[in-house]
C-alpha cells in the first residue's frame, strides 16, 4: 500500500490522539472494531455562543487503517476553535482527495464522519 505524504505524516504523528475528560466534554463514536474500523472523537465545548457551541479542543481514538487514523487525527487537529457543527472541517470528498484515499476505502471515511456527527450532535444537545 502506498500512502501520500500527508497520510503518512498524520498517521505517524497522529496529533491529538487520546481522550478528554470533564463535564464540558462530549463524545461521539462510530464503527465497529470487528468490522475493522472504529473512531471516537472527544470534544471540549465552550459555553454556547451566539453561533452555537464552539470546540476548545479535540481528541480522537481510531482503530483502523492508516487512512482512517490520519484523517481522524487531522480532523481532531483542525477542530479546535471551530463551531461544533455536523460538517467536518472539510467534506469527506475533499478529504479523500487531499489524503489520496483509494475510492474503495470511502466507507472508512464515512465512519470518521459518523463519529464526528455523533460528537457534534452531543455538543448541540448540551
Amino acid at each position: 500500500m502506498r500512502y501520500s505524504e500527508l497520510t503518512r505524516q498524520y498517521f505517524e504523528r497522529a496529533p491529538c490522539a487520546g481522550t478528554l475528560a470533564g463535564p464540558d466534554v462530549v463524545s461521539g463514536v462510530a464503527g465497529r472494531r470487528p468490522l475493522g474500523t472504529w473512531v471516537r472523537f472527544d470534544l471540549r465545548i465552550a459555553p454556547a455562543a451566539a453561533r452555537g457551541p464552539q470546540i476548545l479542543e479535540a481528541r480522537f481514538l481510531a482503530f483502523g487503517c492508516p487512512h482512517t487514523i490520519a484523517v481522524a487525527a487531522w480532523v481532531a487537529e483542525q477542530a479546535a476553535g471551530r463551531p461544533a457543527s455536523a460538517e467536518l472541517p472539510q467534506p469527506v470528498d475533499a478529504l479523500r482527495r487531499s489524503f489520496e484515499v483509494p475510492v474503495e476505502k470511502l466507507g472508512r471515511l464515512l465512519v470518521v464522519e459518523d463519529a464526528w456527527r455523533a460528537a457534534t450532535a452531543a455538543a448541540a444537545k448540551k
Binding site: R33, G36, T37
Partner: protein, 393 residues
C-alpha cells in the same frame, strides 16, 4: 535513515552474489549468450551445455533425474502446467481434483478455473496448525479423481506437510497423481523428489536466493507422468514447454539451489534459534498469537497475529524499520485478510493483523532484535491510538 531490515524472504530473496556472477556469464558477448536451441554452431552448443548442466544440477539438488526437469518461468507456471496439463491429459479418466484451502493462489486459481470448465474440485480443510490430514485426503478421493495438489511448505505460516503420506494415499488409490507445490522448500527443508513419492513437483528459484522468473516442473518417470503442454512453439523442453530457454535464468536457479541445499542443515539450526528469539520477543509485547506450531513449521517462517491492532496500520507502522508482509506477497496488494489464516480458524481481524516474518541467509540476531523493537513500538502506539482493549467498541 538506514533502510529497513529485510524480513520478507518468503516473498522473495536477494540473489546470492555467486549466483549473480554465474548468471552474468551467460549474458554478454564475452559470455555464453547463444540460443540453446541453435544446434548448428558452437555459440548455441555452449549455451545448450550450460542449460543441460543446470538441468542436472537442479535435478541433483532435489533428488530428481535431469530428464524429469521441465524448465518454466516460475512456480506459478509450473503449478498451472501441472494442474491443467494433468487435467487435460487425464480428462477421459475423470474430472475430479483434490487440493487444500491453504494452497497458494497459483494452485487454487487454476482449480477454480477447472471448476468453471466443468471439473469438480474438493478443497480440504487443514487443522488449526495448518496440517492436512492424510486420512482426510483418503476420504476425499473418488473413482474419478485424477489429481491431488498439495503443497510441501506453506508460504504464509511455514507448515511442512507430510508429502510421503499423501503420496502413499495416492499410490493406494492408483489413479490419482500427486502434485506438490514445493516453491518454498529448497534450502528450507530436506527435499527428495523420488523419495517423496510425488508424481509432479513445482519449484521456483527466487525463494532460494536465485532469480525471479524461473522455475521448474518435475515429472516423475517412475509414475510415467504424462501431461498436455500449454505453451506451443519451438518444441523446447521436449515439446512440453516451448519458448527459448533463458540460459542465465536456469543457470541461476541451478547455482542457487546448489548453495541452498549445501547451506541448509546449518541454516535450519541457525534460523530456528533466531525464530524462537523473535517469537519470545514478540510474545512479550502481549496479545501475540503464533500461527502454526513450531514443530511443524520451517525455521525460516514465523507468522504471528496481534490482538487489538488493525492489520494494515500495523504493517504501515513497522514498515520504516522492517520489511515484512501480511499474507502472501502475491495477495497482500489486495488488502483482504489472509485466506490461509482464516482456514486455520483465525477470525477476520486476527487474520488481518498478522505479520509473516521470513528469515533468510543474511538475517542476524540484530535484525531480529530490531524487528522485536519495531513491532513493540508499533503495537503500543497503535493500541494507544485505538483506545486499546480498555475502551469498549
Amino acid at each position: 535513515m538506514s533502510p529497513p531490515v529485510y524480513l520478507d524472504h518468503a516473498a522473495t530473496t536477494p540473489v546470492d552474489p555467486r549466483v549473480a556472477a554465474a548468471m552474468a556469464e551467460c549474458l554478454t558477448a564475452d559470455g555464453v549468450f547463444g540460443n540453446p536451441a541453435s544446434a548448428g554452431h558452437v555459440h548455441g552448443e555452449a549455451a545448450f551445455e550450460r542449460v543441460e548442466a543446470a538441468r542436472a544440477a537442479v535435478a541433483a539438488a532435489v533428488g530428481a533425474d535431469p530428464q524429469e526437469v521441465v524448465f518454466t518461468s516460475g512456480a506459478t507456471e509450473a503449478d498451472n502446467l501441472a494442474i491443467f496439463g494433468v487435467a487435460e491429459h487425464a480428462r477421459p479418466r475423470g474430472r475430479h481434483v483434490v487440493t487444500a484451502r491453504t494452497e497458494h493462489k497459483a494452485v487454487l486459481d487454476p482449480c477454480r478455473e477447472l471448476e468453471r470448465r466443468g471439473w469438480q474440485v474438493t478443497y480440504l480443510a487443514p487443522d488449526e496448525r495448518g496440517r492436512v490430514a492424510p486420512d482426510r485426503l483418503a476420504a476425499a478421493l473418488r473413482a474419478d479423481t485424477v489429481l491431488v495438489s498439495l503443497m510441501h511448505v506453506n508460504n504464509e505460516i511455514g507448515t511442512v506437510q507430510d508429502v510421503a503420506a499423501f503420496a502413499a494415499v495416492c499410490e493406494r488409490h492408483g489413479g490419482a497423481w500427486l502434485h506438490v507445490d514445493a516453491a518454498q522448500s529448497v534450502g528450507k527443508v530436506a527435499l527428495d523428489f523420488h523419495a517423496s513419492g510425488a508424481a509432479l513437483m513445482s519449484l521456483s528459484a527466487h525463494k532460494s536466493h536465485g532469480p525471479k522468473g524461473v522455475g521448474a516442473l518435475l515429472l516423475s518417470r517412475r509414475h510415467g507422468v504424462r501431461i498436455e503442454p500449454r505453451q506451443f512453439g519451438g518444441g523446447q523442453e521436449r515439446g512440453l514447454r516451448s519458448g527459448t530457454v533463458a540460459t542465465h535464468q536456469v543457470v541461476g536457479m541451478a547455482a542457487a539451489f546448489a548453495l541452498a541445499v549445501a547451506a541448509r542443515p546449518a541454516e535450519a539450526i541457525r534460523l530456528a534459534a533466531l525464530r524462537e528469539r523473535l517469537w519470545r520477543g514478540l510474545e512479550a509485547h502481549g496479545g501475540a498469537l503464533r500461527n502454526g506450531a513450531p514443530e511443524d513449521t520451517v525455521a525460516a517462517i514465523l507468522n504471528v497475529s496481534f490482538a487489538d491492532v488493525e492489520g494494515e496500520s500495523l504493517l504501515a507502522a513497522v514498515a520504516p524499520r522492517i520489511s515484512v508482509s501480511t499474507g502472501s506477497a502475491c495477495t497482500s496488494a489486495s488488502g483482504e485478510p489472509s485466506y490461509v489464516l482464516r482456514a486455520l480458524g483465525r477470525d477476520e481481524r486476527l487474520a488481518e493483523a498478522s505479520l509473516r516474518f521470513g528469515l533468510g541467509r543474511s538475517t542476524s540476531a540484530e535484525d531480529v532484535d530490531e524487528a522485536i523493537a519495531a513491532v513493540g513500538a508499533a503495537l503500543s502506539r497503535l493500541r494507544r491510538i485505538g483506545g486499546g482493549c480498555a475502551i469498549a467498541s
